[in-house]
Symmetry: C2
Subunit: 262 residues, 2 copies
């Protein structure tokens, strides 16, 4: 029987080879702040970035109510952001994969949520004061900063659309497609991957109970849409997921029967 690596072992492979490179050598620079920036400017940007901040599974990058100081970029691994609600219950409102930036919701002064590593992860820290000063001198950086914040708004709004209307199958299908395409953008397998988040995280994010998430995974497995083995996911019928997510009602049962008409 083949040896199966656990979460942290898998992520360490990427970790080691990516550590301590400069922005220009980083495989993620097309997704990150340096995009569309000239060689010289990238060098300047390079100098303000604090590299190699490492987090173990469960560690906090920043906590709810912390003073805002920096924007962070995920170099490897993944994180979730959670809102603290009444009773100590927390709600997951975002997942961040390699190349994605977090902290844009805190520019007003304080972090409204906590960021926790889902696995062994590595992040770059970009002190915001410096970034802001640099942006004022580099129009292309300012532009990229605004674009990235706009993208964050888009992401959040898409989640709102997801949460606002659809049933469990549709939500999970959309979620898997989103994760899958984000992996693809990063050059990973998009049909065969390991989720770094628990069922409970997914449920919290999608507004569903853990049991419902689990049941829906099982349903997809029965329907031969997915192969599921705990966090190892293989997408067997991407079209079906796509049709579910797009709301076309050609998926056997009428998936729209419970969708409100506005």
């Amino acid at each position: 029987m083949a040896y199966i690596m656990n979460r942290d072992e898998r992520s360490k492979i990427i970790n080691l080879q990516e550590l301590k490179v400069s922005c220009s050598d980083c495989s993620l620079h097309q997704l990150c702040l340096p995009k569309m920036i000239s060689k010289e400017d990238m060098h300047t940007l390079n100098n303000i970035i604090v590299r190699g901040k490492s987090l173990k599974r469960g560690e906090l990058l920043f906590n709810f109510n912390d003073t805002f100081r920096s924007i962070y970029v995920v170099r490897s691994g993944s994180l979730k952001t959670v809102y603290a609600k009444e009773d100590g219950i927390e709600q997951v409102i975002g997942f961040y994969l390699a190349g994605e930036l977090l902290g844009f919701d805190a520019i007003n002064g304080y972090h409204p949520c906590s960021a926790k590593a889902l696995e062994t992860s590595n992040v770059c820290e970009v002190p915001f004061e410096h970034l802001e000063a640099l942006s004022a001198r580099m129009p292309s950086l300012q532009h990229q900063l605004l674009r990235l914040m706009s993208k964050e708004i888009n992401t959040d709004q898409n989640v709102m659309v997801l949460l606002g209307k659809k049933n469990a199958e549709v939500r999970l299908a959309s979620y898997l497609l989103s994760i899958s395409s984000r992996y693809q953008q990063r050059g990973f397998f998009s049909q065969d991957f390991y989720l770094s988040m628990s069922r409970s995280d997914i449920g919290s994010y999608l507004g569903l109970a853990v049991e419902t998430v689990s049941r829906t995974f099982s349903l997809f497995q029965e329907q031969d849409v997915l192969m599921v083995e705990r966090r190892h996911i293989i997408i067997k019928d991407r079209d079906y997921l796509q049709r579910l997510a797009n709301g076309s009602d050609e998926c056997g049962a009428d998936v729209n029967k419970n969708v409100r008409e506005y």
Copy 2:
């Protein structure tokens, strides 16, 4: 019997007196881009802004897929943004009142959603190219721009929290408190106001069926928490709404009984 003005008549009163003033004279400048900007800089900003764009109820400010050109500020009245979904069904994802900015989700090039006036409204248009160029020369403007975008992210994330967890009563209570406090910030009555959006808009925004919204209004009326007469709302027991929204379970029935534990 007293004569009751309709929506448009009410908003016209504000319209006429606010038209064609410069930013420095605008009562909304504390909420808007000019906040914390020097006199001279405000004058420069003033010159790039196109004022007095007027919209009738139902008119579009921009449409889904339109090329992005400008950020807009609501001067008077109110707008909603809607995502076009499959089947021509639309979902409301934001409401914008006087002093609030919209368009930040389109900086990547195209508007992902449409913006429609809920009543006779007046907006200022801020051409983004100019705004960006100006920001590069005015650190305080750049800062304010980033803050406003961060705030938009906060708003969206709060909606995600709302949609992710709570039942109809809690959602509507949170919604009314949010609207109420935004009115208060603008110097209007916070306990006695007219909603500019329909039940259907509210339902779409909160992820509830129209009928559920209506029923919940009726429930609050029965419980003497609100006085409701179509879109005229009087808040009689703000504390109760607050307790609902905060999730404390001292509100008669156990409101948390249907809230998932994560």
